[in-house]
């Protein structure tokens, strides 16, 4: 999801081609070409400009995009994930790569540093405290891999560490050193930090081959490192 304002004006985008299995969009105002995965203009007058990503979250009062009746027959099948997983991969591969092309990763990028986290390694394993570049971050993958959350875990200049709360109160995490209890939206609901909110980061759930193509300097997270 990208904010439409760049170069001080609102842009309109059209599908314009494919670059290594990730689509290119063309803006109608300057004709520049943009890469979908990075939100970056790759060719044309706005080359080098980047669109702002926004963060996502489910919400009970949400509105939902309806099916367009004129194209309803063309929508992806319910098993779209299996179909997409069977598509060929055309990007070059180095023999030293630690992941398979179609491994699903949680991609995180902060101020130029990129890291890929193998989705299956994080799923339902509780909070993962990591440090990317200079930023202490927190990752959580739950609901069998269907929900992915990434936060900055610095509050008032202090890096917190998070652990899963045990017992009946599932869906809660606890920080050290304050022992405050937090919910999975990053809101402290009890304890000294009650009412504080962690800053949310915008991860990209992606195939490894696509993530590495548009983040060539990425490294890969290994548990217990």
């Amino acid at each position: 999801m990208w904010e439409l304002t760049a170069d001080g004006r609102e842009l309109e985008f059209h599908l314009a081609g494919i670059n290594n299995e990730n689509f290119i969009m063309r803006d109608g105002q300057t004709g520049s070409w943009w890469q979908q995965a990075s939100g970056q203009a790759i060719l044309g007058p706005l080359k080098g400009t980047k669109l702002n990503a926004t963060w996502k979250r489910e919400h009970p009062a949400t509105r939902v995009l309806k099916r367009d009746p004129t194209t309803a027959g063309k929508y992806a099948a319910a098993n779209w994930e299996e179909e997409v997983a069977a598509y060929p991969v055309v990007t070059p591969r180095s023999p030293r790569e630690p992941l398979k092309d179609r491994d699903l990763v949680v991609g995180v990028e902060i101020s130029g540093a990129s890291r890929a986290y193998l989705l299956s390694e994080l799923t339902d394993r509780g909070p993962v405290n990591d440090r990317l570049g200079d930023s202490p971050i927190l990752l959580m993958v739950f609901e069998g891999g269907r929900s992915v959350r990434v936060f900055e875990r610095t509050v008032e200049g202090q890096a917190l560490e998070f652990f899963a709360a045990t017992g009946v109160d599932s869906g809660r995490i606890i920080d050290t050193p304050t022992g405050s209890t937090w919910d999975l939206t990053g809101l402290a609901i009890a304890g000294p930090l009650s009412g504080r909110r962690l800053a949310r980061l915008n991860p990209l759930l992606d195939y490894w081959f696509d993530w590495k193509t548009y983040h060539p300097d990425t490294d890969v997270y290994r548990a217990g490192r």
């Binding site: 309109e12 290119i24 996502k56 509105r63 309806k66 367009d68 194209t71 929508y75 319910a78």
Partner: protein
């Protein structure tokens, strides 16, 4: 001369179609070439089609045979077709953007199974969800959430 005109036109629209097709590895040079051709082919092929019309009219009288006239007609049709194709966005033939995106409140979204995944956003108190099964077809949807203009991509 006429063959050359038509040939250049066909290459100008054909090369980017081939270079930036799905499931082909693209190099940065492929993209540069495709971008330049897509940028200039609408104007270029129109000018070439104009020349083609001129040449066919000139040669028509001196070519009474059915074969030669058939060849001239074919060249003319090809030149006009490529000029027309250069103005089109064939990607939007395959993946049409929704003309007037409509939204349902969550409780009325019965077309959505509970397990179905969405791209979700909340911005300045407004929340919106874009089901992936629909986004995998449209790829691009323009919207405004919390007053902020957005493009939703998948």
């Amino acid at each position: 001369m006429l063959c050359l005109l038509v040939g250049v036109s066909l290459l100008a629209v054909g090369i980017p179609v081939w270079l930036i097709q799905p499931f082909r590895h693209q190099t940065p040079q492929d993209l540069e070439v495709s971008y330049l051709l897509r940028r200039w082919s609408p104007v270029g092929t129109s000018i070439l089609a104009g020349f083609a019309v001129f040449w066919v009219l000139r040669l028509w009288r001196g070519s009474p045979g059915i074969l030669r006239r058939g060849g001239l007609s074919l060249a003319l049709v090809l030149a006009l077709l490529t000029a027309w194709f250069a103005q089109q966005n064939h990607f939007e033939w395959l993946f049409r953007p929704p003309a007037h995106p409509e939204y349902a409140p969550a409780e009325e979204a019965s077309f959505l199974a509970g397990e179905e995944r969405v791209l979700g956003i909340e911005l300045k108190g407004e929340a919106a969800a874009y089901p992936i099964r629909q986004m995998a077809y449209h790829h691009l949807v323009h919207d405004r959430v919390g007053g902020v203009p957005l493009v939703v991509t998948y």
